[in-house]
């Protein structure tokens, strides 16, 4: 399944597969009280997710809350240990590695969090926050730390003179830049960006998006970009995977996912996204509105998990789980997990 094992600090060539995720699962046990008894159940937060990430590529994971996109990101960076499945980074399966063996991989796989307010230690200076990973991984000689920190601050568009300040002296957007600088410090090959801009104001959001794009272009860093905002994902990612209740329901190149989505859930998601185009262009011809909420991941529906909200559902959907696969009419690399997959266009407004 995987390539040969290679030294991990040797950079991957453009287009080479960096990360292979196979059948990744995360089941959290929970206990529920019923009268005098207690039953053990599991939350199937992520239930069999597979994808590849090539060097320099940007893969978007979209879905609503509870779909498992953030959990997936945390497993890849091994902030969580998966229940089962493989995470092959350059040929080594890191899914169950012990902390000690994991350390060289931690350097390569960095994460940027959503909330720039709670993810930085308020009692450490920016310099300290950024140089800690440098020290941990022995990346700079003593005495060179400050130079490197300042270099990084400049790289993310902050004033290098501000290295001695504390996080609370920065605005939300600037804090997010600090978080990015910290991730960059160890020169990772992959950055998992977990909703990196959703806590920011519109004008600041664009600044941070552009920064991430520059990093991707200049440093060739591959991104797993986790977001709920479909516009942001369309802008940033060349490959998109749509998740629903712990599974990928559709995956493919951006143009396919946004232009001719095949899975009913993707279609509903696109149709529901509030869109400026409705006023500036020609409003979408068709509108899909889902009924109800996402079911609980504790007892997900049998067969296709989307069937309870799907207008196409038939008997087969309850009994047989659809595979994520390309349909005869699909473009290369485009796959949908639906028995009745069928491309639909005209779901979003058209701008002349």
């Amino acid at each position: 399944m995987s390539d040969t094992v290679r030294p991990i600090d040797q950079p991957a060539a453009q287009g080479e597969t960096l990360l292979q995720v196979r059948d990744l699962k995360m089941h959290f046990p929970i206990k529920e009280a019923h009268g005098l008894g207690r039953t053990k159940k599991t939350v199937q937060a992520v239930d069999g997710v597979s994808f590849d990430l090539k060097a320099g590529q940007s893969l978007g994971l979209v879905g609503e809350s509870g779909c498992g996109k953030s959990t997936t990101g945390r497993m890849i960076t091994r902030l969580l240990t998966p229940t089962s499945g493989e995470i092959n980074f350059k040929g080594t399966n890191i899914a169950q590695l012990k902390e000690k063996d994991l350390r060289p991989f931690r350097r390569q796989l960095q994460i940027v969090f959503q909330d720039p307010y709670s993810s930085l230690n308020p009692r450490q200076t920016v310099s300290n926050i950024i140089s800690t990973p440098l020290r941990v991984h022995n990346l700079v000689k003593k005495g060179q730390e400050l130079t490197r920190v300042q270099e990084l601050l400049e790289r993310v568009g902050l004033n290098p003179e501000h290295h001695n300040r504390y996080p609370n002296e920065f605005s939300g957007g600037q804090r997010q830049r600090i978080g990015i600088a910290r991730a960059l410090a160890v020169e990772p090959e992959v950055i998992i960006a977990d909703e990196p801009v959703s806590a920011l104001d519109v004008s600041i959001q664009a600044q941070v998006m552009n920064l991430l794009e520059d990093l991707r272009r200049d440093l060739g860093i591959a991104f797993v970009f986790i977001a709920h905002d479909l516009g942001v994902v369309r802008h940033f990612c060349d490959e998109v995977a749509v998740m629903y209740l712990g599974k990928i329901v559709e995956q493919g190149p951006r143009e396919q996912i946004y232009g001719a989505p095949q899975h009913p859930y993707t279609q509903a998601l696109l149709s529901a996204a509030p869109d400026l185009g409705t006023i500036r262009g020609v409003p979408a011809k068709e509108r899909i509105r889902l009924v109800g909420d996402v079911p609980s991941p504790i007892d997900p529906p049998s067969g296709c998990r989307f069937r309870t909200r799907c207008w196409k559902a038939e008997d087969i959907c309850a009994t047989q789980e659809p595979k994520l696969e390309g349909k005869p009419q699909s473009a290369p690399g485009h796959a949908a997990a639906c028995h009745f997959a069928e491309p639909k266009v005209d779901l979003v407004a058209e701008i002349a």
């Binding site: 009280a33 019923h34 009268g35 005098l36 008894g37 207690r38």
Partner: protein, 330 residues
């Protein structure tokens, strides 16, 4: 809900059991000679010493001693002093050879005094303390709030026994505007019962109200800034209703925890108050037995205290689940 109560009961019982073992171990497995200790130094004759030793089966293995002690609690046991058989009915917490009375009986005599004292105190702190705290929270930042809070700080920085002694001295003896402390059983004369307890209630209540006021204020300030309080105001509810219906219910949750522990602690012995106002309660009993080193009584009161504490915790837990529907799930 049933499950919740059952689980708390089991954990409560296990805490009591552990306390039982621990106190027993402390007094009977410690390197001192328990029989000598129980007998005392002055009028302890060799005869009496042997009698105690036989009574408590101190020659037997510790496990058996413990089993007998525990069995006594549930089924009662007998003791022989000066040749007379004394019944110690369940729950038998031992026998005070110094007072020639079963410990349970001694505690039973004292308990109503302490319960009366604590009940009045509880009413006072819960009403006045919480009310003052909520008022201050509602008017936070104003002169009144600051004056109130700093005066409570001043009051609470004077040691309690000083306050209690001064009040007792000045207002019940020198300028007797308050009745003197004392205990008359409620069933004998309700008026005298009330009069005798009034001063201790006021002193204990007002002094501790300061802590409750500060605590409630903090909790209420936090609650009043919650989004759902804004919602309540947006509905058009009056300020009074918002504060005393919507905010108070949430604001009381942390206060109840403190209250439960506080009441449990006071029941186990409001030592200063009982001493200063001459109330023959549990606290006084503890003091007396410590002075005379009356081991069985000390053990008995410790055990009662732990049961009270566990019971209060249990009551607080149940109160929580009544106030907060989200607790019932866990």
């Amino acid at each position: 809900m049933l499950y919740f109560v059952a689980r708390r009961l089991v954990s409560a019982l296990s805490v009591v059991l552990v306390t039982l073992i621990a106190t027993f171990a402390l007094f009977f497995i410690a390197p001192t000679d328990p029989a000598a200790a129980i007998c005392g130094d002055r009028n302890c004759t060799q005869e009496r010493y042997n009698e105690i030793k036989k009574n408590l089966n101190l020659d037997q293995p510790k496990v058996q001693q413990f089993a007998e002690y525990t069995a006594g609690i549930f089924a009662g046991r007998t003791f022989e002093t000066s040749g007379v058989i004394q019944d110690c009915n369940a729950p038998c917490l031992g026998y005070s050879f110094k007072n020639d009375r079963p410990v349970t009986q001694m505690i039973k005599d004292r308990l109503p005094v302490t319960v009366s004292l604590v009940a009045g105190y509880a009413v006072l702190v819960l009403t006045i303390g919480v009310f003052v705290g909520s008022m201050a929270a509602k008017r936070r930042g104003t002169l009144g709030d600051r004056a109130l809070m700093s005066s409570t700080l001043i009051l609470s920085s004077v040691p309690y026994y000083i306050v209690a002694l001064m009040i007792s001295l000045y207002f019940t003896i020198l300028y007797p505007i308050l009745p003197r402390g004392g205990y008359t059983p409620l069933t004998d004369n309700a008026g005298k019962w009330f009069a005798g307890l009034l001063t201790p209630w006021l002193v204990l209540g007002i002094y501790n109200c300061t802590a409750y006021a500060r605590y409630s204020r903090g909790s209420m300030v936090e609650t009043l800034s919650e989004d759902y309080i804004r919602t309540a105001r947006a509905k058009g509810l009056s300020d009074r209703k918002v504060t005393y219906k919507h905010a108070l219910r949430s604001g009381m949750i942390p206060v109840i925890t403190i209250f439960g522990l506080d009441v449990a602690g006071s029941l186990a012995g409001a030592i200063f108050t009982e001493r200063i106002f001459d109330l023959p309660g549990l606290g006084n009993l503890v003091l007396q037995s410590l002075e005379t080193y009356d081991l069985p009584v000390i053990m008995g009161t410790v055990l009662v205290a732990s049961v009270v504490l566990v019971a209060m915790n249990f009551i607080v837990d149940v109160a929580y689940s009544l106030i907060d529907p989200r607790v019932r799930l866990s």
